[in-house]
Symmetry: C2
Subunit: 204 residues, 2 copies
């Protein structure tokens, strides 16, 4: 039943994803084009549409892998350290992971689905999974606080770290001097958590 190619469907899928990842790493979302992918892997543009529904589908798949990769990095922070050290380590891990291929990571924020389309369930789940790791580290630093408070703080930290790396890599608005996203992340995490802790003991 006729297969002409020298690649199995899985191999073909991998080939496409590899080429796409490389293109995005080099030129951001703008650098990606169905025709260029096809050129690089020696297939025709139409073949891509046998494997992926469209480019958005392909891009979402890559984004999923990026999130998985980050989750794996976050899991590497030693669990025996103090919560504060863990929090700082996770911030540095985030920074380290995302700054290796900034344009690739920026994909998560450059890419928008066409109006009306919703994000797949598995995508949201991957995000939640990462958020939970953050909450797990923040939680012991906020004893006697409601679950909502912990979640809120995890969100603030996550968003804050994202904001710093985002501005640092967006060459267009290098207000945040490129000299040091690292120190800024450290500062955010330590000061914020200290502030949270402080306000928990209003009796000075």
């Amino acid at each position: 039943m006729g297969r002409r190619s020298s690649h199995t469907p899985e191999e073909l899928r991998e080939l496409i994803l590899e080429a796409s990842t490389e293109l995005i790493s080099e030129g951001g979302l703008t650098g990606l084009s169905a025709r260029e992918i096809a050129r690089r892997i020696n297939y025709s543009p139409g073949t891509l549409y046998n494997v992926f529904e469209n480019l958005d589908d392909l891009v979402l798949t890559i984004e999923g892998r990026l999130i998985d990769g980050l989750a794996a990095e976050l899991d590497k922070v030693p669990a025996q350290d103090s919560p504060m050290e863990q929090a700082l380590a996770m911030g540095r891990a985030y920074l380290n992971y995302t700054s290796k291929k900034p344009k690739l990571w920026n994909l998560l924020f450059e890419h928008h689905l066409p109006a009306g389309r919703e994000v797949p369930v598995w995508y949201q789940q991957k995000l939640d999974s990462v958020m939970q790791r953050v909450e797990a580290v923040v939680s012991p630093l906020m004893p006697r606080r409601s679950a909502e408070d912990v979640t809120r703080s995890a969100h603030v930290l996550w968003a804050g770290v994202h904001g710093i790396t985002s501005l640092a890599t967006a060459d267009k608005l290098a207000v945040v001097t490129s000299e040091g996203a690292g120190p800024l992340v450290d500062l955010l995490i330590s000061a914020y958590l200290q502030g949270i802790n402080q306000s928990a003991k209003p009796a000075r």
Copy 2:
């Protein structure tokens, strides 16, 4: 010496900017196209290129106005309030301003110049101008700290607020539910500044 149109060059420029702003507000950067602008203002695509160098030039102009608009909003916070109240008010002003037309504000982060091209000087100056307003409010909250420390803290706060609003409006990763970006911004600013203050007095 021949002017056929019913619009002066300035009027035409305004027409183009208005139509573009509307398009972006509705459909983000993707919704913008030279041909669609031309259609809306009843000119031909070529005419745009008599007024702007290219679409990037046009977009940068809109971005400049957005930054100016934010600066104007930040200037409205009452200077007689306490520094802490001012900081919180500025955070809310940012959130308020940017969430009126989220897709328009997102332009600042969606839009990237083609590889190699640098941002114009006036653009960087506008950004610096906003950053200085933040520093001015943060500074009194950090007495006896070096200018670098103040700058760093201003950067952290700016990036943090950006991160929260960014994640809140990026419908794709609505980890941070949009309902509560306000409380998150309040929390970030108050906790962070408290933390900074706390670590300044290590002698408990």
